[in-house]
């Protein structure tokens, strides 16, 4: 059944063709702006490497990051908010369906669609025009999938906040996006952060979504470092997963007691 849900979500996405073209153009513009920026920065810096990054490494990093940050655009918070506000949630609870798994399936469908339709053109553009290289290690793909789960749990957790607040979820979602953008290393590698900021970033889960797979992709991490980062990713999945189950039980209880 969860496969069907993922498939439906995939089909729904096809309906939005204009949005599709626009967001693709948007991603490409952002990538082009960053390409000019990093070229200018390396010219200004004068040296071959900046904190261990060469210009081609940096271009590869931002190209792949443009695709991975599709994670960040998740709409799950809005969908959960709608379920709660319309009372649809009470109906869902009477059905033999696991609510978090339901959204995990939808999110999987969305991301699969995004990667195929928007990720692929961006990859081709980056290969032909920006000369990016392939992943330094196939472990990148594993790390990328682990990052997907971490992101899903975070988004789901911010989303079920709707059960406790009467206001709009908009601000909370927005905060999640901004924090994730700034502290995940998705725009600038954490290596370039000042020490205190990178310390904060490293104890938060956001870097495990983006920074880890990206650094593995460009070959910045050695064998043992890769192993350690994967362990950290697994830790966050376990931690946030347990938190999600726990929080969801509370939300479920609240709805059944108060009737939504």
């Amino acid at each position: 059944m969860y496969k069907e849900i993922a498939l439906t979500s995939f089909k729904e996405e096809i309906a939005y063709r204009v949005e599709f073209v626009m967001s693709l153009i948007g991603s490409l513009i952002q990538l082009i702006v960053f390409w000019f920026l990093w070229n200018a920065i390396f010219k200004a810096y004068g040296a071959e490497t900046l904190k261990g990054f060469t210009l081609p490494m940096m271009i590869t990093y931002i190209s792949i990051s443009t695709i991975l940050t599709f994670y960040n655009k998740s709409m799950i918070e809005y969908l959960i908010e709608e379920d709660v506000k319309t009372g649809f949630i009470s109906l869902i609870l009477t059905k033999p369906i696991n609510y978090p798994l339901y959204y995990l399936s939808r999110e999987t469908g969305r991301i699969a669609f995004f990667f195929l339709t928007r990720g692929l053109p961006i990859i081709l553009f980056s290969i032909f025009f920006l000369n990016i290289s392939g992943p330094a290690s196939p472990i990148f793909f594993l790390s990328m999938i682990l990052g997907f789960f971490i992101n899903f749990f975070i988004v789901f957790l911010t989303g079920i906040w709707s059960f406790w607040t009467s206001g709009s979820i908009w601000g909370i979602r927005f905060t999640r996006i901004v924090v994730s953008e700034t502290l995940s290393g998705s725009i600038i590698p954490i290596y370039l952060f000042p020490l205190w900021l990178s310390t904060i970033a490293n104890v938060l889960p956001f870097q495990a979504i983006y920074s880890t797979p990206l650094l593995i992709y460009i070959g910045k991490l050695s064998g043992s470092e890769i192993f350690n980062s994967l362990l950290i990713q697994l830790f966050w999945i376990a931690f946030l997963g347990v938190l999600t189950v726990f929080a969801w039980r509370r939300a479920e209880k609240k709805t059944t007691v108060q009737g939504g």
Binding site: Y16, R17, V18, E19, M22, S23, I25, G26, I29, Q30, V33, F36, L37, N39, A40, I41, K43, A44, Y45, L50, K51, G167, S168, W170, G171, F174, T175, V178, E181, T182, I187, I188, L192, F193, P194, L197
Partner: protein
């Protein structure tokens, strides 16, 4: 309706708006705060970069802050007072059939959409814009004398018009393409270009941002004049002209789109 009547209508609508904001006070402040913070992300981004470098194409950190402040301020003014004609709003009006209802009223649809759509989230943009311009200017050594403030307002006026024209042009497309709210996203993508000074780009991009989609006049050319850098500092003075010309073109296109919409009756 004459000007005076529109003015009193506007006042009434503002009062109504304020009441709604106070009703949902938490949303009101969260919205403003969120927009305020979102403006700071560009600054944070530059700040992190400048931990590693001293300048980009001759631009220091504070000069880039001033540059991004100018665009944030223009967008903030637009977002607060002119957002009624944004593509996503116009699309909603058309889709729900509300636009047809406005057309049968004895009001100018263009003015009505503007005055009935003040957006409190825009205030966050506006405050952030003012603050960033002020800090950027002061730290880059620009003296905020009355003359300079006047000149700056003059440029901001042109910049808001340029941005408004761009959005109006895209909104007009809503009458033909139903799902054009999404085209509106292209506006934010284009704005990414002027986060950086034109010096960073190649001649092609520079040409496009100056002559085709003249958004470089929103911040780059005015900033050049105030900072006294670059070859074309005097170009800043034509910012208001570009604003007015773009507005005339965009407004004509809007009129054409509305006329086309009413005659086909769709």
């Amino acid at each position: 309706m004459n000007f005076k009547e529109y003015l009193s209508l506007w006042k009434k609508l503002i009062k109504l708006n304020v009441k709604t904001w106070m009703e949902y006070r938490a949303d009101f402040f969260i919205g403003i705060f969120a927009m305020f913070i979102s403006n700071l992300t560009t600054i944070i981004f530059f700040w992190v970069l400048f931990q590693n470098i001293v300048q980009i194409n001759g631009w220091t950190f504070w000069q880039l802050v001033f540059l991004s402040g100018l665009s944030a301020l223009s967008v903030g003014i637009w977002h607060s007072f002119l957002v009624g004609l944004a593509p996503w709003r116009v699309e909603r009006y058309i889709r729900r059939g509300d636009f047809d209802r406005i057309l049968v009223r004895p009001v100018n649809s263009f003015i009505y959409l503007i005055i009935s759509n003040m957006d409190d989230d825009g205030f966050g943009d506006l405050f952030a814009g003012l603050l960033i311009v002020y800090i950027g200017a002061t730290m880059s050594g620009i003296l905020l004398t009355p003359a300079n403030v006047f000149l700056l307002s003059f440029f901001i006026f042109g910049a808001v018009l340029i941005f408004f024209s761009l959005t109006l042009f895209i909104s007009s497309l809503c009458f033909w393409i139903v799902k054009s709210g999404a085209i509106g996203d292209i506006i934010w993508s284009l704005l990414r270009f002027i986060d950086l000074p034109l010096d960073v780009y190649n001649p092609f991009v520079t040409f496009v941002l100056t002559f085709i989609v003249p958004i470089a006049f929103i911040n780059y050319y005015p900033a050049q004049l105030f900072l006294g850098k670059g070859l074309y500092t005097q170009a800043a003075y034509i910012t208001p002209v570009i604003g007015i010309v773009s507005f005339i073109i965009a407004y004509k296109f809007w009129k054409f789109a509305v006329k086309n919409y009413t005659s086909t009756g769709s």
